[in-house]
Symmetry: C2
Subunit: 188 residues, 2 copies
């Protein structure tokens, strides 16, 4: 048999990389101490393939985290056409990101500390992507004036830090987000 041509070799490599990322993403949703060997096993690739793509655990976590941030920013761009409604749809997506990626984020924090550019840069990217949504929602009156996008996202993140399960936290988050709809001039 002849060896595969360069194009199919490349798509094999891309497929393997995607399988590693999928396996790592799934594994990290439920546990934060998954080994590289376990990730390779779940992805069905050898250790050589795993380490060719991601030289260490930190590199794999960085990539996963960046991909999630890309998806959250892309969702903000998509929601942009719908002003107020789009804002709340996107905030729900952001909350899902914060909740699901907490283990990745927590482990990256151990590696890096808060001032790491992965984090600082991601926060800025999310803020830049989401700001137009908030501005549009405030302009059409579906979100109260007087809050910045930083304040809105800090509200969501702080509620999601409550160390309880979703059945406990979700109604708190729902109430807090409903508060964004209330005009700040009139309290009741």
């Amino acid at each position: 048999m002849s060896s595969p041509d360069p194009v199919s070799r490349r798509s094999d490599a891309e497929r393997n990389r995607a399988r590693v990322l999928d396996a790592a993403r799934d594994a990290l949703e439920t546990a934060d101490d998954v080994s590289m060997a376990e990730i390779a096993r779940r992805a069905g690739v050898g250790m050589a393939t795993l380490y060719r793509n991601f030289p260490d655990r930190r590199a794999l976590l960085d990539t996963l985290y960046r991909e999630e941030v890309d998806a959250v920013c892309a969702a903000a761009d998509l929601a942009g056409g719908d002003a107020g409604g789009g804002f709340f749809v996107w905030v729900a997506r952001f909350a899902e990101f914060v909740r699901g990626k907490r283990l990745i984020a927590a482990e990256l924090l151990q590696h890096t500390g808060r001032e790491d550019p992965v984090f600082g840069g991601s926060r800025d990217r999310v803020l830049v992507a989401a700001r137009p949504l908030l501005v549009a929602a405030q302009a059409d009156g579906s979100v109260r004036a007087g809050l910045s996008i930083e304040q809105v996202l800090d509200l969501v993140v702080s509620v999601l830090r409550i160390a309880q399960d979703a059945a406990y936290v979700d109604p708190i988050l729902a109430a807090a987000l409903d508060g964004l709809r209330v005009p700040s001039e009139v309290a009741d």
Copy 2:
């Protein structure tokens, strides 16, 4: 001269104790590393008097913290006559307690860990005192149904943990509390 009678000796002792507590409370509002010597100096009492009242720093912090909790619980009892309005007045008082006593609480936590009875017991006392206020406010429709007093207080505490100044955090807290007024059935 004759020595003071027992009654005035006792009231001297009580006055000294109160002066120490006042000085410690003031000092701890702005800094968490105030020494016992500095507290004695500010209170205008000698070290012997200070240590007769509070054998160590931990004992002084415990007393301060318990007094603050007493005051928060008493405020809930006072607010009880006014259903919905009373609830929001008391929540504002609770937020002030959480904000002002953060330094005391943070230092006590270093001494004790989260499972310490000072903390566990205080949380329960506050919950018991505040629960009737929330129930009354939910019954008269001024607070949405479906949230427990634990969830309401966790919302307040989580927002106040945002590591920014009051000018940044206060509008977030105001929005979150306005969310409590919105019926949970109707979002907008």
